[in-house]
Amino acid sequence: MSLLLRDWFPRLSMLTRNDRILIFVLVAIASFYFVRLFFVSNEGREALVKVGSNPPQKVSLEINKRINVEGEKGRVVIEVKEGRVRVVESSCFQKICVNTGWINKPGQNIVCLPNKVLVTIEGKKSPTMDAVSY
């Protein structure tokens, strides 16, 4: 039993050294882009819900649902809908978290200090500009 690659795939022996280099370079470029594609598509598709000093909980933004969280002062209701997330109802006093409204971009967050609840969207913060002129 041979361990040489060319005994198993005799066609491959037709390739020259430069052919192999070419194929290797192309596959390397393609896999680099695949990795980047995978990374970019993952960005901003998950929210992180943190309550007090507990470990954060990951919530997918793809599935519409409501989450009830027990905060410091009482119940906080978080809603996920169509890739966005908001706090619907909170037992706090000022309702800043409820008034923040929907968030959907990486780096945005909703905070409820009395309940010690933090909702952030994961991912690299993309540089957004107000206007561009050339």
Binding site: M14, L15, T16, D19, V27, A30
Partner: protein, 185 residues
């Protein structure tokens, strides 16, 4: 090469290439951008046997002929196919001619360090990249087009290998029948 012979050769090659391209388009493609590119086999063979000029002419004219027969002449698909065929033929021919000046033996299988399979893969990649670029510039001005880049490169490596192997076989058979290239030219 005298004029009559040249016309006969070019017509035969274009007929072969168009037949392959049309026959290939009759097969269902689940992914619209994924084709085997069998017609490229003829471009490569004519490059090896007949030289740069005929290969480019065959590549360009076969896209026109097959688009006329398929009814896609002057549609966006035709321009993609045309530009891809033209640029890939130019690149493959360039590699071939450079290889000829570097290598002392003109009938060598190895073109600038690449075998026919390597040249075919290079041609397939340039074909796909040209199409992507043309699609970006003239059809869809959106950066999202370039997300297909890795898929296109991998597809080009695989299909380029297959057509390159076919072209290698075909040109070897033609050489076996008529060992002297100058009789064909």
């Amino acid at each position: 090469m005298d004029g009559k012979k040249r016309i006969v050769h070019i017509s035969a090659l274009i007929a072969l290439a168009s037949t392959l391209q049309i026959g290939e388009s009759l097969f269902p493609h689940p992914l619209p951008w994924l084709r085997l590119g069998l017609a490229n086999m003829i471009t490569l063979t004519s490059l090896v046997i007949f030289g740069y000029a005929i290969a480019v002419q065959v590549a360009v004219l076969r896209t026109i002929l097959s688009s006329l027969l398929l009814g896609t002449f002057f549609t966006p698909g035709f321009f993609l196919s045309f530009s891809g065929a033209l640029v890939s033929a130019l690149v493959m021919g360039g590699i071939y001619s450079l290889g000829k000046t570097v290598k002392s033996n003109p009938s060598s299988q190895y073109l600038f360090g690449f075998s026919i399979i390597g040249v075919s893969i290079l041609g397939a990649v340039t074909h796909n990249l040209t199409q992507l670029f043309v699609a970006y510039v003239f059809l869809i001005r959106h950066k999202g087009v370039f997300l297909t880049l890795p898929f296109l490169i991998v597809a080009a490596v695989v299909t380029g290998f297959i057509t390159g192997y076919g072209a290698n076989y075909l040109s070897r058979e033609i050489r076996r029948i008529t060992p002297d290239d100058s009789k064909l030219r």
